[in-house]
Structures are given as structure tokens and as C-alpha cells.
Amino acid sequence: MTDMSVQTGAPRRTAFELARRYALFVLLAIMLVGFWWAQPAFINSANLFSILQAVSVVAILGVGVSITMSAGGFDLSVGSVAASSVMAASYAMVVLQFGAGETFALVLLMGALIGLANGLLIVKVGVPDLLATLSTMFLLAGLQLIPTGGRSITAGMMLPDGSTAKGAYDPAFLILGRSRLFDIVPLPVVVMAIVAVLAWFLMERTRFGRVFYAIGGNETAAHLAGAPTKAYRLWAYVISGTLASLGGLIIASRVGRGDVSAGASLLLDAVAASLIGFAVLDKRRPHVLGTVLGAIFVGVLLNGLTMLNAPYYTQDFVKGVVLVGALALTFGLGKKKR
């Protein structure tokens, strides 16, 4: 069997393939330089960290979304889990007078449990992923408002029963959203980095990640190869729910009050980040690095445009145009022939 075909050792990459792999990096670099040129204040480190801070929540939620996507699912509930977590954290401190630590634990637990509920609905009851998480989304959007009768939660608020809330945001809780490491790096950015590195390691460097992807690729095959597929899919949702509630904690600790929202735009931004991630490194699949880069990409764009005083409505448009451009570049370049 030596005469079979001509073999070359390492895969040679054509220029097209290279361009496809790094298209988003190059675009990002162009954007950075362009904004710098147009507005020198753009490039100072404080602003760059502001950008990272601004995208941290979306990136964290996006990582969760991309993990569920890897396992062949889709978590539509991340936005409302994050929104509910903001309310839950506020409620815990302002109404129940919990401390920062307890609030943290409680909210993360809540996120994990919601993820578990999603997962059970999907793997045990057999509801399709999109459908199950969509229901959860609606359910949470309403549920989070019931304890306070639709009011947002702040210290001294009136409760539905007419009494006044006695608690307040624990100052220790606000550290997460408002302080900086070494006086430079905002803590949310540190959290995002930790989440990203851990998730990347899990998904790309451990056998668990391999199994997540295998399940997403062909669940039957993964099952026959001995993977406990149901447990993995459950875990994917638990991770996603926990990350979403972590995102909610960051929002709460930054804003310092429990604001009412359904989380729809958080969901879309998180999904956008993980979808843009498909194009990063030409992987054509969800992955952690791509998701984080996708979130940063959009963040840089929005920050730069705001600095250049572009009206808010052009921002969405430019976001769309740049997305289409980046995608056309990544996916269109040197496409495989039939």
C-alpha cells in the first residue's frame, strides 16, 4: 500500500486560508489603528480597559452560550438569567439583608439551578433545546418581578406590603463591579479573563471539552463511545446558567440597584459574540476564544464610534456592516469547490 498517493507532511496553508484564519484579528487591528488615528484618546490604556469592562458581561454570557452550542444545544435563557440575578442579588441584600458573600453564593446557586432545570427539561423530558430555554426565558422575565411587584430594587424602597426595605447594598458587594486590580484592571475584566481561560482550558485542552464537542457533532456516536451524554448536556446548561448569573452579579455590583429588564438585548449580544466567534481562526464552530474576541470586536467598534460622536443609530448599522463584511471575508474567501 505504498503506491497509494502523493503525501505531503504538514498541511500547507494557502494565502486564502491564512486570510480566513486571521481575518477578524486583522480587522480588529485595523479598527484599533483607525480609531486611534481619528481620536488619540482612544488608545490610552484606561479606555482600552473600559472597553474590556464594557464587554465583560456579554463575553461571560457568550462563553456560556458557546458551551451549550458546542454540546449541540442553545441557551436562550442567559439574558433573563442574568437579569433575574441582578434582581435576586438586590433582593437578597436590600430586602433580606444578606451580606455580600451570602448573596454571591445564593445567586450563583440560583443560576446553576436554573441551568439544571433547563437541562432536565431538555434531557429528561425531551423538550427541544430552543423551546425549553425560550420557556425559561419568559418564565424568568416574569418571575423576577413578582417579589417586588414590578418595582426596581433600591435601598429604602417601598415593598408591596407597604413597609420599607431595611437593607442596603453591601459595600463589599460593590467591589466586584467597581474596583480595579493594581488600580488599573477593572475586576470584571479580571473575572472575564479567568472565566475565559478556564472555559478555554476546559473546552480545548481536556477530554471533557472533547466530549462536549463530540456530543454536539453526533450525539449517538458520543453515546456509543461511552460518553454519558445526558450528564454532559445537563452540565453544559448548568455551566451556562452559572456563568449567566455571574454576569448578573457583575451588572448588579456595578449599577448598585435591581433594575427591571427581560434580558433580551443581553441575549442577542451574547449570541452575536459567540456567532462571530465562529469566524475566528476559521473554526466554523463555537469556541471560547472566538466568543471573547467577538465580544471585544463589537465593544471596540461601539466605543470607537461613540468617541467619534457617531449618532447611536449609525452604531447599529455600522455594527451590522462590519459583521457582514467580516463574515463575507471569513467565509467567502477561498471557499471549497465542489
Binding site: D3, G9, A214, K337
Partner: protein, 547 residues
């Protein structure tokens, strides 16, 4: 019908078109069609289909390097070649789903160039592709799938559930197929999928019919039925190109055999076809008869099944497997072979009965438990059971082999891709898998080579009981012999249970052959029988199922 052993001289019971002996050619780069036609001077009719100088490269891999081939109306041409020789690539080019890099295709004398399968279909080329996962669409019923070509082509615009059922039933009846018309295609077993693919191609009433390993999961009876149809179609003037690694199939129907190797035609064999020579041309060496004792084993029993009933109402049976033994189960489509294997692997339960493995009761809760307990299974449908989409991490040869062994190989959880690659490269070398390296994804491999990877997966770790369901689907005769030797050598301390619908294959690989019928096992020999006895037993079993 009687099917002989692999190396026995095989002759079809039909008049031969030519009395010429073997003609072998080393290369065909400048071969012309006229030269080809000299092979069969008796028929001067124009070719129904002819390709010449066809080339196709996938990156650095040259799948076809100037192949020439021609089929006359009414002629059945067998296309032979080792795994990865380029057969399926040629089929895809003729059927319009791949564009050739060079070369011409003529249909009835007219040069054509198909931009899509649609055009090829419209020009009268009907194809059964090798991959059964492309035989139909899930979400549609069997009836709808039988009519898929009509829907996708120019069938009647308006449809209703009733009309679909009626027309589909007609198609199935024309081929004497009994298919569950209302079931979702996604729930079908590979054999049923294959039957649907065949039915669709035959119903297309094409002038050229291409069959790429159509019988790989069919049993002898179904294959025989297909041959009858093929003969009838050929008699009506259809040109048929038939690809198979089952030499018995080819012997039964081929008027002529063409051997493809390294992307070029290296030999042509007219009637009577000398298969041993063809195989030598195909794999580049002589094939030795696989030697195995067939003697009763006295080794300790590994698996024993007592009073087992697969489904309610079936006759209970016993089964013992001894260490080092290779036992084959054969039987018709749907007789329950796969079910037995699935039971042992923990995917379904016995209706009644006990199973003991190494003396302890064996009741697996699922694949994870089975694998941990040393019971491995190669499932029958590699596309559904083993292949991952190419963009998935772990879709490479190395990753595919490693998947079930990850917990054992990497107990800490952290992957060591070097180790995976080493195992992958070892498999490539050992099984002669045609691939650049262990990082190749499986979609780039030919069907037989994919199957070898799937087999290699379960040889990558020691086991107690190896369950193989249709393990040699699409694997060429040379590789099959290698694989069997490998199984015999490496599995000396374990038992192997093979479910195969191909009797020839069973005879070749097994120490013992059992026949499954109506979800019950019948011993083809009672521990001291010979292979001949086995054949006889198989045959009586088969005749009994068809009263």
C-alpha cells in the same frame, strides 16, 4: 443460491461476451476509448456512458489520475479497487456531485458536463451512493423518501399523504420490498436505508445505473433479489456500473470487471472473470487464504448466555463464547443480529434470560458501563454511530479512535494530543488506512478507510468481548484479511462476536458460525462441525425462511 469461498473459482451461469483472457494494463493515461472497446468486439453498440482521462485531486491527494471507463447498454461492469482507489470519486463525478479536474464524460456518445446531481439525473444517470446516511432525509417518511427524486425533480406539483403512500407503495411493490412506509427515515436501520436508496435509483428508469456498494449491509437473500432486478434491468438495455468488495456479488452479475488502482484503470477482465488475478491487480499482492483452525476450543468460556429471548415470543437460545474464539452470526435482514449485539452492549434489554461475562452476571446499563467492563462494540452504521462532522474537534482519525478511551488514557482530564496521534498513526500503518496522517478528518477518507478507522478505535485498548456489527462494510478483501489476522492475533484473551449479513465473510473470519432467524439463534455446527457443515446449515436456514 450457493456462494463459494473467497478463493474458489467463480463462474457466473450466463453466456460470456468474450472468450478473451485477462488483459492487464499498467497505466491508462493515453488509453483511448477505441482501445477499450476492442475488449468486447461482439457488441459494437455505442457506449451508454464513457469517461476518459478523468482526474480529481483533493489537495495533495490524487484520487483519480486519468481514469478511463466505458459501459455499454445492457452491460454490467464491475468496478473493483482497494479502499481509497478512487471508485466512489469516479461515481460522484459521473453522477454530477463532484466536478472533475480534467477529463471528459460522454453519455450515449454525447459529451456532457454535469454541474449538479440534478443535471446528471435529468440526463439519465441514476446512482446509489456508498454513504447510507445520504440515502434519504430524516423528518420525511419512508414513503416520501421513496419519492424524493420526484419531489426534487419534476414530479407532479401537488401531493397528498394518500397519493404519496400510493405511489411509494407501487415503487416498493415493483421491487418486492416490504418497507414500513409511514416510519420516519431517521428511525430506519442501515439495511432499510440501503434498500430505499436502491429502490429510488431503480424507479428512476435511467439509462445508466451506478451502484456503489449497494449490498454492504444486505444479507444474501436481499442481495440475491437485487441481482435479479439488475439482470432484468440490464436485459432491458440499461448500462450498469457495479461496485462491491463482495466478490460473490460480482461473480453473480458482472459481465466484465475493471480494476482501479491509484486513480487509474490497471486491469480489465472479461468473462470468465479471473477473480484471484483481479484481486492481485487490485491490492498489488496475492491474497493468501486466511488460515484458522475451526477446531473446537477448550479455552475457558468468557461469555455465556442462557435461555435468552430477544423479543417476546421468540424461541429462547443459549450461547457460549470462549476465550480466543471468533464467532459469526449471520441471517437475513431484520432477523435480530444487531439486536443481540445491542443487548450485550447495554443498549437494550433481553426479554428474558441471563448473561454472564467471565462468570459474573452481565447487565450493562449502557455503553459507558460496557466499555468500562471491557465490552466493546463496532456499531453497524458508521455514519450515525461513529463519524463526527469535520469541523468538530476530535473528528480526526486520532480523535475518532481516542474518543471511547479518553477517560482511561487521560484520567487527569488533560489531553495529550501526541499520544492520540501516535495511536492514530499506528492504526494508519497497521491497517493500511489511506490518509495523509492522523490529523485527517474522516470525511476525507474513502468509505472503506473510514470503516478501518472505526475498527481501529476498538483495537486501541484491550477488551474481554468485542462485538462487531457488519464490521467489514466496504472494506476491501485485502484489508479484510489483514484485519482478521489482527483481530485473531490481538484478541487471543478475549472473545469476538461478529454479526454479518455476508455469509462469505462469515466463513472467512469465524471459527464458528451461528444463524439467526426470527430473533433466535440456531447453531450452524455443534462445536465440532466443519465449515462445510456451516454452509449447509446456513443454507437450510435460509431456505427455511423462504418457503
Amino acid at each position: 443460491m450457493l456462494r463459494k469461498g473467497l478463493l474458489a473459482p467463480i463462474r457466473a451461469n450466463r453466456p460470456s461476451h468474450s472468450s478473451k483472457a485477462i488483459r492487464q494494463r499498467k497505466t491508462s493515461t493515453n488509453r483511448t476509448l477505441t482501445a477499450l472497446s476492442t475488449l468486447s468486439p461482439s457488441s459494437a453498440a455505442p457506449f451508454a456512458v464513457a469517461v476518459s482521462g478523468v482526474e480529481k485531486a483533493f489537495g495533495p491527494t490524487r484520487a483519480l489520475a486519468g481514469a478511463d471507463l466505458a459501459v455499454r447498454p445492457g452491460e454490467v461492469v464491475a468496478l473493483m479497487g482497494a479502499n481509497g482507489a478512487g471508485k466512489s470519486t469516479l461515481v460522484k463525478i459521473i453522477s454530477g456531485s463532484l466536478a472533475p479536474d480534467a477529463g471528459t464524460i460522454t453519455l450515449g456518445g454525447r459529451t456532457v458536463s454535469f454541474a449538479s446531481p440534478r443535471e446528471a439525473k435529468a440526463a439519465g444517470v441514476a446512482t446509489v451512493h456508498q454513504a447510507t446516511d445520504q440515502a434519504g432525509a430524516g423528518g420525511l417518511t419512508v414513503a416520501e423518501n421513496l419519492l424524493l427524486d420526484e419531489f426534487c425533480g419534476r414530479g407532479p406539483l401537488f401531493v397528498s399523504g394518500r397519493s404519496i403512500r400510493k405511489r411509494a407503495a407501487a415503487i416498493a411493490a415493483a421491487l418486492d420490498l416490504d418497507l414500513p412506509l409511514d416510519r420516519d427515515f431517521i428511525d430506519l436501520r442501515p439495511a432499510e436505508r440501503q434498500l430505499i436508496a436502491i429502490a429510488r435509483a431503480v424507479a428512476a428508469k435511467a439509462s445508466v445505473l451506478i451502484l456503489d456498494e449497494p449490498t454492504s449491509s444486505l444479507s444474501t437473500a436481499e442481495a440475491e433479489r437485487l441481482f435479479t432486478i439488475i439482470r432484468r434491468l440490464a436485459a432491458s438495455g440499461m448500462a450498469i456500473l457495479y461496485i462491491s468488495h463482495r466478490l460473490g456479488d460480482l461473480a453473480a452479475i458482472a459481465d466484465r470487471a475493471v480494476v482501479l488502482r491509484g486513480g487509474v484503470i490497471v486491469g480489465e477482465f472479461a468473462q470468465p472473470i479471473d477473480f484471484p488475478a483481479a484481486v492481485t491487480a487490485m491490492i498489488g499482492r496475492r491474497l493468501e487464504a486466511a488460515a484458522h483452525s475451526g477446531e473446537a476450543s477448550t479455552a475457558p468460556s468468557i461469555l455465556s448466555i442462557r435461555n435468552a429471548r430477544l423479543v417476546p415470543g421468540a424461541r429462547p437460545f443459549d450461547l457460549d463464547l470462549r476465550s480466543g474464539e471468533v464467532v459469526a452470526i449471520t441471517g437475513t435482514l431484520g432477523s435480530g443480529k444487531s439486536r443481540l449485539l445491542r443487548v450485550l452492549f447495554g443498549l437494550t434489554q433481553l426479554d428474558q434470560g441471563t448473561v454472564t461475562l467471565d462468570g459474573a452476571p452481565w447487565l450493562s446499563s449502557g455503553p459507558a458501563a460496557s466499555i468500562a467492563g471491557g465490552v466493546f462494540m463496532v456499531a453497524e452504521d458508521r455514519w450515525a454511530s461513529s463519524l463526527l462532522p469535520p469541523e468538530t474537534p476530535g473528528a480526526s482519525i486520532a480523535g475518532t479512535i481516542a474518543l471511547p478511551h479518553l477517560p482511561r488514557w487521560f484520567p487527569s482530564g488533560i489531553l495529550d494530543t501526541m499520544r492520540e496521534r501516535a495511536v492514530g498513526n499506528d492504526a494508519i500503518r497497521r491497517l493500511g488506512i489511506k490518509a495523509k496522517n492522523a490529523d485527517d478528518t474522516l470525511d476525507q477518507l474513502s468509505g472503506g478507510n473510514q470503516q478501518k478507522v472505526v475498527l481501529a478505535r476498538w483495537q486501541a485498548a484491550p477488551c474481554r468481548l468485542l462485538l462487531l456489527d457488519e464490521p467489514f462494510q466496504g472494506v476491501d478483501v485485502g484489508a479484510r484479511a489483514d484485519l482478521i489476522t489482527a483481530i485473531r492475533n490481538s484478541q487471543s484473551a478475549s472473545a469476538t462476536l461478529i454479526a454479518t449479513s455476508d455469509t462469505e465473510e462469515a466463513l472467512e473470519v469465524a471459527d464458528r458460525i451461528l444463524v439467526m432467524r426470527d430473533h433466535s439463534l440456531f447453531a450452524a455446527d455443534d462445536g465440532h462441525g466443519s465449515l462445510t457443515a456451516a454452509i449447509g446449515s446456513v443454507e437450510t436456514a435460509e431456505t427455511r425462511t423462504q418457503p
